[in-house]
Subunit: 358 residues, 2 copies
Amino acid sequence: MSDETPRPLLSLAELDRFCRQAFLAVGADERTADAATRGMMHATELGVDSHGVRLLPHYLRALEGGRLNRTPQVRKTGGFGAVEVIDADHAQGAVGAFHGMDRAIALARQFGVGAVAVRNSSHFGPAGAYALAAARQGVIGMAFCNSDSLVRLHDGAARIHGTNPIAVGVPVAGEDPWLLDMATSAIPYNRVLLYRSLGIELPGGVASDAAGQDTRDAMQAEMLAPLGGEFGFKGAALAGVAEILGAVLTGMKLSFDIASMDGPDFSTPRQLGAFVLALNPDAFLDRGTFDAGMRRYLDMLRSSRALAGSRVMAPGDREWQVAAERRQAGVALDPATESAFAQIAARFGLPMPAATHG
Amino acid sequence: MSDETPRPLLSLAELDRFCRQAFLAVGADERTADAATRGMMHATELGVDSHGVRLLPHYLRALEGGRLNRTPQVRKTGGFGAVEVIDADHAQGAVGAFHGMDRAIALARQFGVGAVAVRNSSHFGPAGAYALAAARQGVIGMAFCNSDSLVRLHDGAARIHGTNPIAVGVPVAGEDPWLLDMATSAIPYNRVLLYRSLGIELPGGVASDAAGQDTRDAMQAEMLAPLGGEFGFKGAALAGVAEILGAVLTGMKLSFDIASMDGPDFSTPRQLGAFVLALNPDAFLDRGTFDAGMRRYLDMLRSSRALAGSRVMAPGDREWQVAAERRQAGVALDPATESAFAQIAARFGLPMPAATHG
């Protein structure tokens, strides 16, 4: 809050360039640099800054520490029919997730549906990036994973689930995909950290103290509440779906067994799983009917009556709006990330990401 | 409220017998009688009374009116690989949904995953019945459908989605499956009707008046709110997942195009879709590892610290507890259903369901 000067707006292309160079500078291979950068840039472009380029210093540390493998040999180790099991060889999480979705898409083209379990992976960042990768190629994509425990159960007083995201992307002819990318907690943990630093109150029903009691004091917040408030058993069960698909079905660690993302151990692989699934509309009906169905659904939804003073949006609409703005105007880094980027630039002799024109 | 006498507890087997006989009495074929009864009895057994045997008179009326086909010719009409498209020929909804899940399970045994779109179906009752059918056979099952509009969008002031359920069932070695069966609204519409009849206030954030404003007055409730309260965009998007899979991918009617379940038209098929998916754990990892993962997950979950005065449960735990009680003690019908059953019994010369012993 001490920094009152407006922060420069950096171009997305320059942020992308900087991330790739930084990954290569710590010895990550081209594939890792590409996938990790695409994952973060998806989030930065769409306004999901918690999973955007602010994670670059984190991933560099994990790659240099050995938690993440800089030169992973990703390979198929199991599955049959329309299922594959992929061992990501402790790659940065986007490597296995993008590869897994590529394979799920290929399986869906052949079998109508494809499901891929990714083993020995790590934090994969924005689940929506992988669902979107499918939707961009004309198929419905879904992505699930678990993560280290932060979220209590309904009526619980202990951290059990991670924020366990669920993402679904659906192709829409002639426009950006329908895109859901949700944590199964009400809010992400970063919101708690942000409210702590801002000194403001949390909404009710989103965080609990160490006894599991609802608290609006961000300093007292020890765990997150599952989505749904008094119907939080639904949010907790949705977290369970991500847990079962992302961890049990992949044979990887359950949320409460995963080492903290923030360390102190940055040398041991965390053994996270991920699960992706693709559905090929062409296996179900002709593409024109599918496209017309999505068109009518979205047209009716967007033109439907809104609460006074509000507007209704389809999943992804807000994100595509942010993306259009950021592609045009660029994006400001938060102070901590800007400082970390300056250190990375100095250490590896990289030019800082340039500001947008004008 | 005028009826103060304790209602007799009827045995589940007798309710099952009565429903089957009633379906056959209106000319439904054996398959319809079996599937429709199994669907309702799933709900009655597990305590989901809104989708239980209280629907018998409704289904009989729809079968006699012609909305539902008493002798449907269910057949495969499309799909390839691990996908099938089933035309349910306007059968009662459980017919196509159980058949679709049977096919998805068979596909999952062959291909590791199977997905089935059901066309020309109707109200399928409890989504959990179909997910459970898969889990009982050792595979993960998912079921989705849409239904006539009752639920507003986040910041919306119009009925757009149905209560669009999502169900997931997961096999657990040595015990009943993990079972999620949720409406994507905070509460079912039946809750509003119940609170109207009881004259009590709704919880906040679950229903809205005609302007989309939150209301706790059940008489003013014109629409339901999506799950999530101020994070209702997540609930609305989950409803969208059920809408896209259940209606767009099946080429069937969107929620706002579906004729009301309650009539007045009981002669025209409603053209609902349903979508089911099965995942075979054996395609992903060895069964022992899968079973051990579910075991550890559930053990940790159930033994985790609860909020003072509460207990934590896994999805399905409450339902299995009700089921055990009802298998033992039987179940009471609500007065309206008891009266309807008496009329059905008189009309077709059927013995009323017998009470449990003692």
